[in-house]
Structure formats: structure tokens, C-alpha cells
Symmetry: C2
Subunit: 269 residues, 2 copies
């Protein structure tokens, strides 16, 4: 499975620096975040830059935050769809959002997500972009994503064609799930992205930043990767790591580690 | 639903102090931890003490940690079964344990749990004690409990009679689960204990200690309580809160807050 560098892994680097590091290490894919794209002069300029390095844009991170019924959020997602199209990627990752301020109504938040998919899917589809629902670890349910399992993401995707709404398999978020392999198999045709990083304990005070390099934690990657391949996924594997220590490291060093770990745990880059 | 005080909520209190606080506040149930029972002179002495206050022992916390295949763990669980019987409770809560040191083999850990249930259930049953599997929040999967959902706990319980192996519904661990209401309904006849505390963000550095008083966080208790009642559960609701700030509070103050929150969110004590 070919390697893609998600730009969140090298937070200090500009898009140009990240792209150059990819090229230097034989990495053929990149998964940029919207803020990095904007800082590079917008999606069209970013596309020209990435084309110079012959990089495949494996996904755009991220749209979403549609769990409160906000019209502004829908509008922002339409912009994200356009950016994905301009970048030449078919996959817009959606982190769906948590509970509305002061609300404890989880079913309502989940209903807002379903409704937002209905509202966004035709627009995305007309741009050749798929909405890629990313289930986040249940510990983020209150504040970041009310979609907590791959099965739930697939239930939300089911009313749509596989090219309209897909799902992200991120090892960090799903590795614990007793239904993981059943649901990966069920996801055949809908896997928009396969992201990896490791589950390291103890988590740091900011639990958003507890992710480790592949191999540093408790996740057994081989069976998950095999299942994703058996489900027919032919894309890259994106390495996306949120970790302050890694962010404080020289990006060149980080990319070298990413490549080393990929060779050990996933195969050729 | 009648109130029971889990002794973990008033960590500073002895069993005698906790029992007296229960009596003073009209609380009719108590859920002791084994260390507190031992400090009170063992299960038989503890039983005499609790009988003086006419307290129902709603569960014993806890057995478990059987996910590595350790024979010593099984033996310790047999002692816990005896203690539960001596305390006059039918419910021994099991926190099943995480991955073995250095292991990434989650299926193997889960298989060890299934095997341990087979080995322990006859002994427990002969003592009139039910093994109560507690699914823990998925964020504890690596280090505390490889059973992460109510559905998974019920799958493990299914080979056994309902009086042999049950499940614990703890709002903190299961509130996020998209299958929660389906699985609570499926749990009819097997609900060993209903425990409550709230999900508060951000979590503290020690994520074990992030639980809040009922009402302080993001959980909507009424529908979960209703579902537990509809599943035929007739026992107490146990308030179990791990939180350093609450532990540093005068236990009398904490019990008063527990009662106030129960009246607001769950009804008469």
C-alpha cells in the first residue's frame, strides 16, 4: 500500500516543504489540510505546486461540523467541496462535529448529520467529490464527532451511492471496535481513505494529541491493513499523527520516521 | 429507581463512614469495593456492619483482569466470588483487563476473557453470584478492559444462563454508543447493575478521573434510565464517580450532592 503524508503530521511545514519532503522520500501521496492549502495561496495554486512533485492528493481534511444544524457550516462545506475539486481529490474528509453548546441531545445531533449529508451530497457529487465520513474515537463524541463507529458511518452512508458518500478508516479511532473487521468488509466500495497512527497510553492532558508513530503503541496494523485491502481499497495509506512532540520535531526527521515505520509495518512506500 | 452509593465515589471514607452517610441520607443501597471491604475486616464483618444500617449490597467491585490468561487472576476472582457471597450480593462486577504487557493481540485478549468466564461461571453460580461483565469506554481498551461495548459484553454473556453472567450498564462507558438502546433492550434479564456518572470535557490528564456528578456533563440520563427500566431492571442505580476533586471533598458533602442530583435527574432516593 503506497504511502501518503497527511500534512497534520508535519504541522510546522508549509505545503511546499511537505511536498518537497514527500518527493525526497519517494512518497507519492499527500493529504493536505485546508488551512495549509489556504496558506499556499488557495486550492488552485496548491494543485500546481503538488503537480510539480507529481503528488496524488489522497484526501482533503476537512469538512464537517454539521451536527448542530448550522447553515453557515453547510456553506463552509460547499467551499470545502470546491477546494477538493480544485485540488484534484475525490475525497473530502468530514469530521461531523459534537453536541451543540449546552445540548445533551445526541440523537438530534446525529439526525443533523444525516440531514447535512442529504443537503451536501448532490453538490459534492456534481463536483466529482465524495463525502468521506470519518468516525472518531468515542472519547470525542461530546465535542468533535457524534459518529463514533465505522458501522454507524456506514449506516449514514447507506442511503447514498458509494461514489457519493464514503467512510474513512483511521486505525486510531477504530482499532478497539469488536465489529471492526465485519464493518471494514461491509465498507467495500466506500473506503475513501485509510489513515494510520498508533494508540499510545497514557494519553496526554490534551487527548487530541496522544497519537503515536505506527509501531509505538498498541495497534496491530497488519490485520487491519489486510482487511482494508480485502475490501477492495486500492488507494494510499495516509499517515496522520497529532502529537506535540512530533510537531516539535524537524519535519524532515518526522518524514524519515514515517517512511521507516511504513517499511516495517506496511511494506514498500 | 432507588439510589446506591458506590464506595469509589467517597474514596476517603471507611466502609463504616460510607454506610452511616447512606443511612443519614435515606440511601438504601451500597456498592463496596474490595479494598474497602478488606479494610473493614473482611466480607463477613462488612456484612454485619452494613446490616446494622439495613443496606442492600448492590454489587461488589471488582473482579476481572482475566485478559492475559493468568491463573493467579482466576484464583483471585474465586476469592472475589466468595466475598460477594459473604456480603450477600449476587453481582460481582468484572473489569476484564487490557492487553498483556507488550502484546498487540486484541482477539487473543478477548478470547482469554471468554475462557475465564467459562472457568469462573460454575464456581460463581454455586455461590449464588453472577459474573457482571462491565464494558468500559473504548479509551480504556488497551490498558483496562478489552470489552468496550454493551453488545460485546452481551455476546460474551450469551453462552451462559442469565443468572450466571450479566452485564453492567455504566452511563460513562456506554452513553456514546449508537447501538445503546438496542443493546439495553437485548440485555433484559442480564442487567446486573446500573451505574451512573457524567461525561465531562475536557478530560483531565489522568483520564481515569474525569467523571462528573450526574448533571455536570453531556449525558442525557432520562432516556438511558427509561431503557434500563423497560428492560426489566428492578435494582438500585449506583453512583460511581472517579474524580480527584470530588475525592478531595468532604464525603458528607459529596453524598449530599449525589442525593440532590439523584432527585433532579432520577427521582426519589
Amino acid at each position: 500500500m503506497r504511502l501518503s503524508l497527511n500534512t497534520a503530521t508535519v504541522k510546522k511545514a508549509t505545503l511546499a516543504q511537505a511536498a518537497r519532503l514527500c518527493a525526497e522520500h519517494g512518497i507519492t501521496g499527500i493529504g493536505p489540510w485546508r488551512d495549509v492549502v489556504e496558506a499556499a495561496g488557495g486550492a488552485k495554486a496548491a494543485k500546481r505546486l503538488l503537480d510539480q512533485y507529481e503528488l496524488t492528493v489522497t484526501s482533503l481534511c476537512r469538512g464537517g461540523f454539521v451536527s448542530t444544524g448550522s447553515a453557515a457550516a453547510l456553506e463552509d462545506n460547499r467551499r470545502a467541496v470546491e477546494e477538493a475539486a480544485d485540488l484534484g481529490t475525490a475525497e473530502l474528509v468530514l469530521v461531523v462535529g459534537g453536541l451543540a453548546e449546552g445540548s445533551k441531545d445526541l440523537p438530534a445531533a446525529r439526525a443533523h448529520v444525516a440531514r447535512a449529508l442529504e443537503q451536501l451530497a448532490p453538490y459534492a457529487s456534481s463536483h466529482g467529490v465524495r463525502l468521506a465520513i470519518e468516525p472518531l474515537h468515542p472519547m470525542f463524541c461530546a465535542d468533535r464527532a457524534v459518529v463514533s463507529t465505522l458501522g454507524q458511518a456506514l449506516d449514514l452512508a447507506e442511503p447514498f451511492a458509494p461514489h457519493e458518500v464514503g467512510v474513512v478508516v483511521d486505525t486510531y479511532h477504530v482499532w478497539w471496535d469488536p465489529q471492526l473487521f465485519t464493518q471494514i468488509s461491509r465498507a467495500a466500495g466506500r473506503i475513501s481513505a485509510y489513515q494510520v497512527c498508533d494508540w499510545v497510553v497514557p494519553l496526554p492532558a490534551d487527548m487530541l494529541l496522544g497519537r503515536g508513530h505506527v509501531g509505538d503503541g498498541h495497534i496491530d496494523f497488519a490485520p487491519i491493513t489486510d482487511a482494508v485491502l480485502r475490501a477492495g481499497y486500492t488507494g494510499h495509506v495516509e499517515v496522520e499523527i497529532f502529537n506535540q512532540t512530533i510537531w516539535d520535531t524537524d519535519p524532515a526527521e518526522t518524514v524519515k520516521t514515517v517512511v521507516d515505520r511504513h517499511l516495517t509495518h506496511l511494506g514498500p512506500v
